[in-house]
Structures are given as C-alpha cells and as structure tokens.
Amino acid sequence: MQATIGESKKAFMTGNEIVTWAALAAGAEVMFGYPITPQNEVMHYWTRLAPKYGREFLQTEDEISAGFTVCGAVQAGKKAFTATAGPGNVLMQEPFGMAEAMRLPLVAIIQQRGGPSSGTVVYSQQEVTLTTFGGNGEGNRMVYSTATHQEIFDYVIKGFNVAWKYRFPTFILGDGYQAKMREPLTIYEPQDRGIEMVSPYPLIGKAGSIGVDREAEHLCNIYSLEEELYDVVLQHAEDYERIAPEIIEYEEKECEDADILIISHGVVSRAADDAVKALRAQGIKAGYFRPITLRPFPQQQLRDAIAKSGAKKMLVAESAYGQLYRLIRQEIYGETIPIEGLFMPGVGIIDYDIMNKVKSIL
C-alpha cells in the first residue's frame, strides 16, 4: 500500500484530522459514514485525502446503514471503518451488535457529545456505557479511551490491528474536545516504528470446497436453536476473557503511598494528572489511575493499586453522571474502599475542580 505520511513529522492538527491520517497510515481502504457533529471533519478530511491514496468513501442514508456497510465490507476483506457520535452511536448499536455476533473486525471512532438525545454538539463522556455495553449482547468489544492527540494517532493505528487480529469490534473513544482542538503530535508510518500492520483478509467466499478443502465459515447473527446460540455466546465469552490480558492497557502514577486514588479516563485524565501533581505539592498524597481500555477493563491492576497504596478513598472524576463510576464498581466488586464521584456531565473538568473535590472529601 502506498505510503501516506512518509518521514515521521511533527503536526499541529485537530483530533478529527488525526483520525483520518491515522486511518490512512493504518491502511484503511474505505470509510462509511453519516454526518454528525463533532465527528464531521473525520469524513470531510477523509473525502479530501482518500482519493489521493486510492481509498474509498460512501456516505450512507443513515448511521444504521453506515454500520452495516462496514460489517459487509470487512467480510469482503476490506479494512473499513466508520466514525460517529451521540444519537449516531445509538443507531449504530445494531450493526455493532452484529459485529460482535459475527466476530467482525469493525473499527469505529466515537467522538462523544452531550446527551441524552441530541444533547449538545460539543463535548461529554456520556457514551461510555453505550460504547462498552450497548446493544443486546455481552459487551465483547475493545474500547480505547484516548487522552491526547498523540494517543488518537497511536490508538487508531492499533485499533485496526487488534480488530483484525482478535476479531472483536474495536472502538476509539474520543470526545468533542479532542475532535475539535488542535495540539502538537508526531505522525509516522507504522512500519517505521516497528509496527507490523495486520493485513485484511476475506472472511467469506474463500477458495476451495467446503467439507473437502476447508471448514465452512459460520458467520451468523441468528440461530434457530437456543442451545446453538448458548454455545456461541459462551465460546465468544471464553475467547474474550482469554485475550483480555493481552488487550488491557492502563496508566498509573504515584499510587504506591496514596491516601486517595483519583480515577478518570480520556481527556479528563489530563486534569487528573495535573491535580495529582498539585495536590502532592501541597502535601496531599494523591494517586492517579487511568484505564486506557474501558473494555476489557484493567480490573486486576486497579485492585492491585488499591491494595498497594492502602488508600482510604477513591475519587472517580468524569464528564458524565456516573458511567465510569458504575463500570468501576462492577469491575472491582468486593473491594471495600469508599468511592466518591465528581460527576460533571457535558462539561469539561479541570485540575482545580478535582483538587477542590479531593479536599472536600479527605
């Protein structure tokens, strides 16, 4: 595939522009999408750049269709992706569910906006529950929550690889701030960093006779028998749990002796990082823990952080009313550390907000 970025270089771009460059660098062949703020520019940049590199684009009639066309394209062996937000993410849950059922390497970039419903076009972290456990399945998804523009670039590339390697739908969870803001980063060709891109391959229509040359491919999203479905779902759960340790990523700072652990994800973790530094400078022993993968969740790593720190309290800071908080509680069931929340749905959180909250609960 044609080189897109060439020599590694510094860039100063919006998050949406970075998504496009990363998808190009990752070898994505086609994007299907439907406009919604704040992800529109992913489509805009893609339509501008894709033809130069022999890639394709189709704007579908809605998000349901965009999701399903990705499901179709990946079965034909095309590295395909979509991007959406808010109500579009709601509509895409059915195709996302199909990707779970059929183990399709679907990649979706979610730029969270405010909700419920059309909410705001700006920013939020209210699509955590939807992106991790949306649909009528078991949440067998891989969800990366990015915090910086560098991470958007890195994880979009990684997202395509894990999707095609492990065959579970993969999500890069950003937000309106990350989508629209500009900040410096370095862009590069994956192979220049020793990253080997997994080549796409057709999932159906393979050569050879079924039963003679090869086994049949059962890519199925509907079953006649209850027991059949039961077996499939259990197999998927087993596969997911087996690979989870290879997927899980997290970031941890100053947890060894922390009296309070501050947990956040995505762009809010930037403020949490600053808050921990500032609190430490004031003599308050704060620790920082950030799940990078929200699914699978670094639950053992968080349990370990709680144990080694001996922290008396945990604070969950998020731009939602308890979506990360609920996720954490279910993941670390049995831990007795009291958990407090700083819930600011639909608005940004800065270090000052977190520091004030910490001081009010310690």
């Binding site: 076009v121 700006v122 990350q178 500009r182 410096p184 762009v267 930037r270 959180i349």
Partner: protein, 195 residues
C-alpha cells in the same frame, strides 16, 4: 514560560477563530506547547463565538479552563458571555468603539482595558482587518509569540489573499502593529485608549 490562558470572544463573523488559529500556529511554529479549542456550538447560526487558547513550554492539561489570564471580548454580548472567565488575575480587554453598559463588565479583573479596534479599523485602516488589530493587541498583552512570528503565521494563513492583492499584506501588518502598540500603551498608562 508558564501557562498562559486566553479566552477570545466575539460575534460570529468577526474572525475570532481565524486569529486564534493563526496565534496557535505561530506558537506551535516556535516549538511551544499549544492548545486551541473553538467553542463550537451553534454559533455560526448567530451567537457569540469563543476561542480557548493555552500556551506553555510544558505539557498542557485540560483543554478548557475556568479563569483566563487574558479575556478579549469584542461585542457587548461577548463581554457578558466571558465575564465569568475573569478573576482578580485577569486582564480583560474589550472594544470601546461603542458604549457598553457598566453591568456587562466582569466583577473581578486585574485590569479592564478598552481599545477602539472597530473604530480604528473602519476609519484608519479597513473594516476587514479589525480582527488583526485584535490579534496584535493579544500579542502585545501576552507576548506569547514574537511580532515576527506573528507576521510569519499571518503570511502563511493569508498567502493566497496576499498574492492576489499585495497591498493587503502591508495593511495587515499595519493593523497588527497598531493593535500591539495600543495594548502596550494601555498596559503602561492604565488608561483607556481613545481613537
């Protein structure tokens, strides 16, 4: 250089986001850590447009902030919308070409500065360089980038326009210079500049 936070607000069409982008580019070109985030609600359908800018020599945390070091508000509505970003450490600059009701101003500010950018643009330069006067003033107040770096970023952004009409370049540079001088003068004297 420690962190400098600027909130820049005006009516849709006043060119607030354009100059925010040029300043951010100029700082990035000088290898500074820079974050620029436009307020991107439904402003283009008629409303106050805000640009949030942060500059530092170190990694920058959250993309938004509660209080700014410098607020620049270019209309009566913009003053009302941004007053909350001002506290006792904030320099609050506004356009005093038209009278503004006292109630609109922030309760707290280190200093409130009025400059007649609209009036100067209309009477001495050209209405279209109004936002460049403001950019000059922002640079004069904050020193985030050198005057030369600002000029370079301006050339980069407006190259296609300058090519078509070479006079535009001088006009823009003059606007930048006048804005910078007005801001510097007002900081020294602590008095409002009148056109």
């Amino acid at each position: 250089m420690s962190l400098i936070k600027i909130a820049l607000a005006g009516e849709g069409g006043q060119g607030v986001q354009s100059i925010a982008e040029i300043m951010a580019e100029a700082a990035y070109n000088q290898n500074m850590q820079t974050i620029y985030i436009p307020n991107f609600g439904l402003e283009q359908r008629g409303g106050v447009s805000i640009a949030f800018l942060q500059f530092s020599d170190r990694r920058i945390g959250a993309p938004k902030f509660n209080k700014a070091d410098v607020v620049i508000a270019l209309s009566e509505r913009a003053i009302g919308r941004t007053a909350g970003y001002s506290d006792e450490n904030t320099i609050f600059m506004y356009d005093n070409s038209y009278p503004i009701p006292e109630a609109e101003f922030p309760e707290k500010a280190k200093k409130v500065i009025g400059i007649p950018a609209i009036e100067i643009a209309n009477n001495k330069l050209h209405p279209r360089v109004f936002n460049i006067i403001i950019m000059g003033a922002a640079i004069g107040l904050t020193k985030i980038v050198s005057f030369e770096a600002a000029k370079e970023a301006l050339i980069h952004k407006l190259a296609y326009k300058f090519e078509k009409d070479p006079n535009l370049k001088e006009l823009n540079f003059k606007a930048l210079q006048m804005g910078k001088e007005m801001a510097e003068a007002s900081m020294q004297e602590g008095v409002e500049v009148r056109a």
